[in-house]
């Protein structure tokens, strides 16, 4: 019952707002949305209480859905997913609260908050679904909500296109996911997870599911949608990056680990590692502070993929949760910066905000510490876990450590440019602190980013999954040193303002994600358009339609010819008549 409540409350919030929000004031809508999420969070905490008291799993059977074995509306929560439920509802509630003031003047508040609640509902479905199909429902709905929210400023063509792009790339993954389900269903005739976990993993299905996870989690090569997703309101970015969307791929790998083939899992780890380093380098070259964060998410999720891929469920989950804290704090901080500076996004035009917006700076700093994995922030402990798990895979370990260093570097650069460097524009000079309703959630998240790692390491917050490894001291020291060195370098290089270190053209290529977007435009989008044009003007117009025209023409032409024979001359008629009679005669007498 409580479980059903956790999932249903956000949905109810969304429905109420969608149906009746038109007559309510903006802040009331926001409060309803936040209230629904907060209540869900409360219910999640109640479940956590029950679990702490020794309960193993919780199942809520809500009725049948599709006529396929296992495809019922059944929710299920276990020690692995419980922390996720708590995190998703909690962080979403904070982001939602933050949004009330952020969206203070937006006429689209109704659809914004409805989509926000629906978003949380969808993510909870992914986390708590008892079967593949329900999980997939959440999976697709998450994509839908991201589309709605990214395209929130719909009168802006860029935002509208970014929303479509996000949905399309996700759909590529969804299509693979769907086929994966078909394969599984065709083999085992069920989609219930508890039944499937006892079956041998299928290679094809595992690979297809992985493609789904790659798209949702913006991993190589399906990462292209996430940087563009910055077109949505900033709290949406926080939501997508921290709580409700991109981590879904990791959740999938964690939840479905028993179903997934070992080879595919190791592939996931490799892809994750590649993505992590690649995205970290791209992040380094960004000039837009939100885009730094976007690329950093891609990179961090890559690390989680490494963890999940090599079977370190605890490490992946831990990093997922601590990432949720610091990334939410960073994005909300970014939003606060934008709020303070009239939506200025270019870091080269910012600077000096530390003095003008101290609380935002504080919160952002906590987040940046987390991101850079500098002890004692949360990121340090969770990243250390991943590194420790990767000890057995030297190549992966090297990449993880390299990524850590680059991450710290760009985190330092980001912080230096935005907050420390001299103010570079009027907006930066005229910055003002955000209202309390925005600051409060921000600070809570910042605190989380700071202490969450300690709490988990100390065992104060149980994650429900065993597998915490004691990292060797050498590793801890190395990773801490790399982080500190990277961050220090970043601060040192950029505390006076932007500067070019590598040739501009190279920096530009890196900033544009090594042109993968352009590659896709040329190699996928353009051929797709050509194909559609070819079918439209070629096969449809020339073959399908013309063939019917041709038949009609032939029949009509036949009519004309036949009518001509009826010329009106008796001699012709007589001749025809006699000829026909002669033919008949010939046939009958000569047979």
């Amino acid at each position: 019952m409580t479980l059903a409540l956790v999932v249903a409350l956000p949905l109810a919030g969304a429905i109420v707002i969608a149906l009746f929000g038109g007559r309510l004031s903006r802040s009331l809508i926001g409060l309803i949305a936040t209230g629904a999420l907060a209540l869900a969070f409360g219910a999640a905490l109640a479940i956590a209480q029950a679990f702490a008291a020794g309960k193993g799993t919780l199942v809520a059977e809500l009725g049948p859905w599709l006529p396929i074995r296992g495809a019922d509306l059944t929710l299920r929560i276990d020690p692995l997913t419980l922390p996720l439920v708590v995190m998703v509802t909690g962080i979403s509630a904070l982001i939602c609260l933050y949004s009330i003031d952020y969206l203070g003047h937006d006429t689209g508040a109704q659809r914004y908050f409805a989509a926000l609640d629906l978003f949380v509902f969808a993510m909870l479905l992914i986390v708590a679904a008892s079967n593949l199909l329900l999980l997939f429902a959440g999976w697709e709905l998450v994509g839908l909500c991201s589309y709605l929210l990214i395209a929130h400023y719909r009168e802006r063509p860029v935002a509208a296109s970014a929303g479509v792009k996000a949905f399309l790339v996700n759909r590529v993954g969804d299509a693979a996911f769907l086929v994966g389900i078909f394969v599984i269903f065709a083999s085992f005739h069920t989609v219930a997870l508890d039944e499937l976990t006892t079956r041998p993993p299928l290679l094809a299905a595992s690979a297809l599911l992985l493609v789904g996870a790659l798209a949702k989690s913006a991993q190589l090569p399906l990462h292209v949608w996430l940087p563009d997703a910055m077109e949505g309101p900033t709290p949406v970015s926080a939501l997508i990056h921290a709580a409700t969307m991109v981590t879904a791929g990791v959740v999938l790998l964690l939840r479905l680990a028993p179903l997934l083939h070992g080879d595919v899992l190791s592939d996931a780890a490799v892809i994750g590692a590649a993505t992590a380093l690649f995205a970290a380098i791209v992040a380094l070259a960004q000039t837009d502070h939100k885009r730094v964060l976007a690329w950093s998410t891609i990179s961090q999720i890559g690390l989680m993929f490494v963890g999940a891929g090599i079977g370190a469920a605890f490490a992946a989950l831990f990093h997922l949760l601590s990432h949720a804290f610091f990334k939410a704090a960073l994005f909300l901080g970014s939003g606060s910066v934008m709020h303070a500076t009239d939506d200025e996004l270019d870091m080269r035009r910012l600077g000096g905000l530390a003095r003008r917006t101290p609380l935002t700076t504080l919160a952002f700093a906590c987040g940046a510490l987390g991101l850079a994995a500098i002890p004692p922030a949360a990121g340090f402990f969770s990243k250390e876990q991943i590194a420790a798990a990767a000890l057995a895979h030297p190549a992966l370990l090297v990449v993880v450590l390299a990524t850590s260093a680059v991450t710290a570097l760009y985190a330092g650069r980001l912080f230096a440019l935005v907050f420390i460097a001299p103010a570079a524009s009027e907006q930066a000079r005229g910055a003002h602190e955000s209202p309390p309703l925005m600051l409060a959630p921000l600070l809570v998240l910042a605190a989380g980013a700071l202490v969450f790692g300690l709490l988990v390491s100390a065992g104060a917050v149980p994650l429900g999954v065993a597998g915490a490894t004691e990292a060797p001291l050498a590793l801890s020291v190395t990773s801490a040193a790399l982080a500190v060195a990277g961050a220090a370098l970043g601060l040192a290089l950029f505390w006076r303002g932007p500067r070019s270190i590598v040739p501009l053209s190279l920096a530009d290529v890196a900033r544009r994600g090594f042109l993968i977007d352009d590659l896709y435009a040329a190699a996928l989008v353009a051929p797709f358009r050509s194909l559609a044009r070819l079918l439209d003007t070629g096969s449809e117009a020339l073959v399908v339609q013309r063939s019917v025209d041709a038949v009609a023409w032939i029949v009509g032409r036949g009519g004309v010819i036949v009518r001509r024979a009826q010329g009106g001359y008796v001699r012709v008629y007589e001749a025809m008549l006699l000829a026909a009679a002669v033919v008949l005669l010939a046939y009958w007498s000569l047979r």
Binding site: G63, P64, W65, L66, P67, I68, R111, L133, F136, A137, G138, E140, L141, L144, Y147, L148, A151, R154, E155, R156, P157, A160, S161, G163, V164, F167, L168, R171, V172, D174, A175, L178, V179, I181, F182, V183, F185, A186, F528, L531, A532, R533, L535, D536, S539, E540, V543, V544, Q545, S547, V548, A552
Partner: protein, 469 residues
């Protein structure tokens, strides 16, 4: 008894609509009659009632008047009732209203007849009877290209029906009866099923229309008046789905199975083909036409695959497509009323002036592209999952449509509603909302509880010889 009533009711309504005294009420009569059909049909699956009737008709020809309603028929008739009711209600301000609504009711009767007929001769009668009211409605009340479009639609479908007639006649000669249930009980040997199956499928493939027999479709959808296009796509196309299930699979399971590899390939290609073409359309009606082509081919794919799951999927997808396409056509008309054009290039940025229209359209598109929670997903998933069991390659090909559908679906929303407000117009009024909202509500209800539909599609729908999966 009730099966006959489902046909008689709209016939009576047609007479009432034609009555000069009731001219003012003809629209109401047509809508209420359609709705009543839906209610009665749905009641038959909820309450056990005697539905069948059997009267001697043209015994010399082997044909009898045999009608019955089972779960599958009832679902289709219910869908038809809803679609027809909405279509009638949307037919405001038509000239010559008595004739229009009388023809409308005749169309309802003919469509109902197709779904209840249990005799091939009777089936053919209703099958052809659909054409005339449709053709006159298109010809008389249609748009610019109505003449050519009507003739093309009519003759193309009649060419298909001509082969169907040959099939029916052959069965009558070979078997001496046209009673569908009796024929199904004693199927002809598997080796002799392919030819009759192809003759029957010819008509159904054109009516559906299966790729590449769709040459009539885009022009008809554009030329027909919106309510007629809505009925044409929403329910008339479904008669083909029903016919393939009831007659194709029912009477010639082996024949269909032998032809299935080719049919499945065509349907899978058609699914993608329609979606790809939809991405290129500027006229909303053409876009809906090609999107329908895609959906209908997906349904066809599921039917040809003939597993229990795929057939259930086909029925759900039929219901879903019927509701969604009806909503889409209505919304397209509402949009066109505001921009004076069906061209997407003449719209743009309507969201700021017409948020409810935008919201409804977005929801309809979401259902069309099969997002979970809407009926579109339930139908699409079951269809594809069921098809995969037997024809994996075709299912995978067709699954790509989820990507392409998103391209045209979201492209529609983006081009019509997003971006700077190039076009403006008043938001939906209460009447307009009342027309579309029930459809969208049903889309969500069926999406959340598809068992409302699938519970009535039992194992018996799968031909025994094709094995129970």
């Amino acid at each position: 008894m009730i099966a006959s009533a489902l046909v008689a009711l709209p016939l009576v309504a047609a007479a009432l609509c034609a009555a000069p005294l009731l001219s003012r009420w003809s629209r109401t009569i047509a809508a209420v009659a359609s709705l009543a059909v839906a209610v009665v049909a749905f009641a038959t699956v909820v309450v056990p009632l005697a539905t069948d009737a059997r009267i001697s008709w043209a015994a010399v020809l082997g044909a009898s008047y045999i009608v019955d309603v089972d779960g599958v028929s009832a679902i289709f008739i219910t869908l038809g009732g809803v679609v027809f009711a909405v279509g009638a209600a949307a037919s405001a301000h038509v000239p010559h209203r008595r004739a229009y609504f009388a023809l409308w009711c005749l169309l309802v009767a003919a469509v109902d007849g197709v779904f209840v007929a249990r005799d091939l001769g009777l089936f053919f009668v209703f099958w052809e009877a659909m054409l005339v009211p449709l053709a006159i409605l298109m010809w008389q009340w249609g748009g610019a290209d109505r003449r050519g479009a009507t003739i093309r639609f009519l003759l193309y479908t009649m060419a298909g029906s001509a082969l169907l007639l040959v099939g029916v006649v052959s069965v009558a000669v070979a078997r001496g009866t046209l009673d569908i249930d009796a024929l199904a009980a004693r199927p002809v040997p598997a080796s002799a099923q392919l030819l009759p199956a192809l003759l029957f499928l010819a008509a159904f493939a054109v009516k559906l229309p299966l790729f590449p027999f769709h040459a009539w479709l885009p022009r008809a959808y554009v030329a027909a008046p919106i309510p007629v296009a809505l009925a044409l796509s929403g329910i008339v196309a479904k008669t083909a789905v029903y016919a393939i299930i009831r007659i194709g699979l029912g009477l010639f399971p082996e024949g269909v199975a032998q032809a299935a590899p080719a049919l499945v390939a065509l349907a899978a290609v058609g699914t993608l083909y329609g979606a790809l073409l939809a991405t290129r359309q500027d006229d909303l009606r053409r876009l809906i036409a090609f999107s329908s082509l895609s959906h209908l081919n997906l349904i066809g794919l599921a039917v040809f695959a003939a597993t229990l799951t795929s057939l259930r999927g086909a029925v759900v997808a039929s219901v879903s497509h019927g509701l969604v396409v009806a909503a889409l056509f209505l919304l397209a008309a509402m949009l066109a009323r505001r921009t004076s054009s069906f061209a997407l290039s003449r719209a743009g940025g309507l969201a700021s002036s017409a948020p409810v229209l935008t919201a409804f359209s977005t929801l309809a598109v979401i259902a069309a592209i099969g997002v979970p929670g809407t009926s579109g997903f339930a139908g699409e998933f079951l269809s594809l999952a069921g098809t995969y069991e037997r024809y994996p390659a075709a299912a995978i090909t067709a699954t790509l449509v989820v990507i392409v559908a998103a391209v045209y679906g979201l492209g529609l929303v983006r081009r019509a509603f997003h971006g700077p407000p190039l076009a403006t117009g008043p938001d939906l009024g209460w009447r307009e909302r009342a027309l579309v909202a029930p459809l969208l509500a049903l889309v969500l209800v069926v999406g959340a509880a598809p068992w409302i539909v699938t519970d009535h599609v039992g194992q018996e729908i799968v031909p025994a010889s094709l094995g129970a999966r």
